[in-house]
Amino acid sequence: MDLSIPLMNSLTLGSLYTLMALGLTMSFSVTKIANFAHAELVTVGGYVTALLVNWMGFGLGESLIAAFIASALLAVAMDEGVFKPMIKRGSKPLFLLVASIGIGLVVRYLLFVYADLNAVITVQAKTSVELIGRFGRAGITTIHLWVFPITIASVVLLHLMFHYTKPGKALRAMADNEDLARVSGVKIYTLRRLMWFIAGGITGVAGGLWAAYSVITPEIGWYALLRIFAASILGGLVSFWGTIAGGLIVGFAENFGITFMNTYFNVSTAYRPLISFVIIVIVLLIKPTGFAGFDIVEWVKEKIKGGGE
């Protein structure tokens, strides 16, 4: 069995899932909303990229910046328009989840109407894809040169932001305890807006990259949402590094898992989503916190010490 193709797919999709899931983790840890409309941020980013590239002749770089802005603004609008007023009225977290489903429906089907009117129900950004190298049988293309650097850069920038800048630290404080952050003089509403802007933006960029990588439809976000949640839940929905590990695990588990099952047990590749679903169920039932609070250095130290129990 040749593993080079599933390996490349896993890395590419794993990176995209990581980017998308980082947005979800950020918004969940700060606002505690399980945002189902997160799917639509992916779709909007994808469509903005695909249409700018195809219709306006923009380069992929400029289109991705536009996708960042579009999804970021949508995310801020969601919060300002629906979530914030609801929280101020004292809505239960579950109602916020249901409201996010409502937002998702509105945005998704508005996109469907737009796509139907313009005959772009399925679309792919027509960028020039060139083969630059080979890894086993899998080709490395220019798309990969976009995906990997952007993912790594986003992770590094987010890490620097959360650890070395004032708004980043304040956001972590808010995620930990909003009331305490507020009485300490953190401007929580300004920061919330910043958080939604960044979370929406990176999700949109991931959607844009997806549009360059493969064909998208207005339902692409819903399709990705299962994986996004799986990745994010692996990080306990709050852990930054846990989410990154989660995104890669989901990418690898799906591609290797389904290749393996397909080769040896003749399982249809259509069952791919079940793998992410099983990850969600197992993590939630066995260790709902995921990788959150899991410190590999401490864990190794404890193993070396030989168990203090």
Partner: protein
């Protein structure tokens, strides 16, 4: 002239009534689980689909066996033969219908019990996430397996149990009456359940499970029971739907169905069965009348698929209701106890005291 006009619209009217009754059963069962029990069963469509698949598989397999149909399970020929057999053997057709209802409810209840395992252990929103995806996973399995409902083609030839009635108009009215009877029975059942001690226990567990546990109530059992009841009812709705559309296609059971049913409950008013009837009526009307066939009947043509508009409106209703009237059109009333009923019928003035008590209970 007038009567003829009415008759020409009769099929639309009966189909509306049937769909309303089926949605009502589904919405009432979701209201039992979510409104009264506080379990966010957003995988409701999965339990409806379990009943639908059950009816399809049971009918097709039994008829294939009884009539000795050799043509493939999914072939068009088998579908024609099944319809012929069922319309010429009224007794068998009705027996299979009844068996499907019973088995569908049992299997639905079993799945409900199985999914109450996570329901006892997860936090509300995590449970909602899991259940939403459960709903879609069932569909993914069904649309890829030939043996259940013939993958993407769908299983056909599940003739209506009343197909021995030759006149189509009479038959559809008769079937509509059966479905309505089921809806009425369901309503009476959930209404009695809600007013019973079990209904009050459900609300207690929903509002504060720790307090209920401290009072010696077995919370996991209550949650398990309500999941069984709710899922069995949802499965019955699925069975009735399969026999109505005379077939079953996996892709009909999109997560959107859950959201449609959920909108009925939220719009009408959670934990209020009368409100759910109102919500179901509004949403069924929306579901039926914002459709390509109805639009072409009215002579309106739009450039895009009309069904998209339906989902945009559903989304807007969800958002607006949750923002501005989270209690729904008809809010949850005070807990119905014998004392409250007595106070209404006699001169006792205990209403005030009860009002205060119930407000305290429902606000938390």
């Amino acid at each position: 002239m007038q009567i003829e006009f009415l008759f020409s619209y009769m099929p639309i009217f009966t189909s509306f009534i049937v769909l309303f009754a089926i949605y009502l059963i589904a919405a009432l069962s979701l209201n039992m689980e979510y409104g009264y029990g506080g379990i966010p069963n957003f995988g409701h469509v999965f339990f409806i689909s379990v009943g639908a698949y059950m009816a399809g598989v049971l009918t097709a397999r039994t008829v294939d066996y009884l009539a000795g149909i050799k043509a493939g399970y999914c072939s068009g020929q088998a579908s024609v033969l099944r319809t012929e057999y069922l319309s010429s053997h009224p007794l068998e057709a009705v027996a299979i219908f009844v068996a499907s209802l019973i088995l569908g409810a049992i299997v639905g209840g079993l799945f409900g019990y199985a999914s109450s395992y996570p329901a006892l252990r997860l936090k509300e929103d995590f449970l909602a996430i899991t259940l939403i995806f459960i709903g879609d996973m069932g569909r993914i399995i069904a649309r890829n397996e030939e043996g259940i409902v013939c993958a993407l083609t769908g299983l056909t030839g599940i003739a209506n149990p009343l197909s021995f009635i030759k006149d189509v108009g009479t038959r559809s009215i008769a079937y509509a009456l059966i479905v309505v009877a089921f809806a009425v029975l369901t309503y009476v059942y959930v209404q009695r359940l809600a007013k019973s001690p079990f209904g009050r226990l459900l609300k207690a567990v929903r509002d504060d499970d720790l307090a209920a546990m401290a009072l010696g109530k077995v919370v996991p059992r209550v949650r398990g029971e309500i999941m069984i009841i709710g899922s069995a009812l949802a499965a019955i709705a699925g069975v009735l739907r399969t026999f109505y559309i005379q077939g079953v296609v996996a892709d009909d059971f999109q997560p959107l169905i859950t959201f449609l049913v959920l909108t009925m409950v939220i719009l009408g008013g959670m934990a209020n069965n009368k409100g759910v009837i109102l919500g179901t009526l509004i949403m069924t009307a929306l579901d039926q009348f914002i459709s390509p066939s109805f639009f072409s009947l009215l002579g309106i043509s739009v450039e895009f698929d009309v069904t998209y508009m339906k989902y945009i409106i559903i989304g807007l209703i969800i958002i607006l209701v949750l923002m501005f009237r989270p209690q729904g059109a008809i809010p949850e009333g005070p807990v119905e106890t014998p004392a409250l009923e007595l106070s209404r019928s006699s001169e006792w003035d205990v209403e005030e005291g009860l009002e205060i008590e119930s407000e305290g209970g429902s606000e938390s």
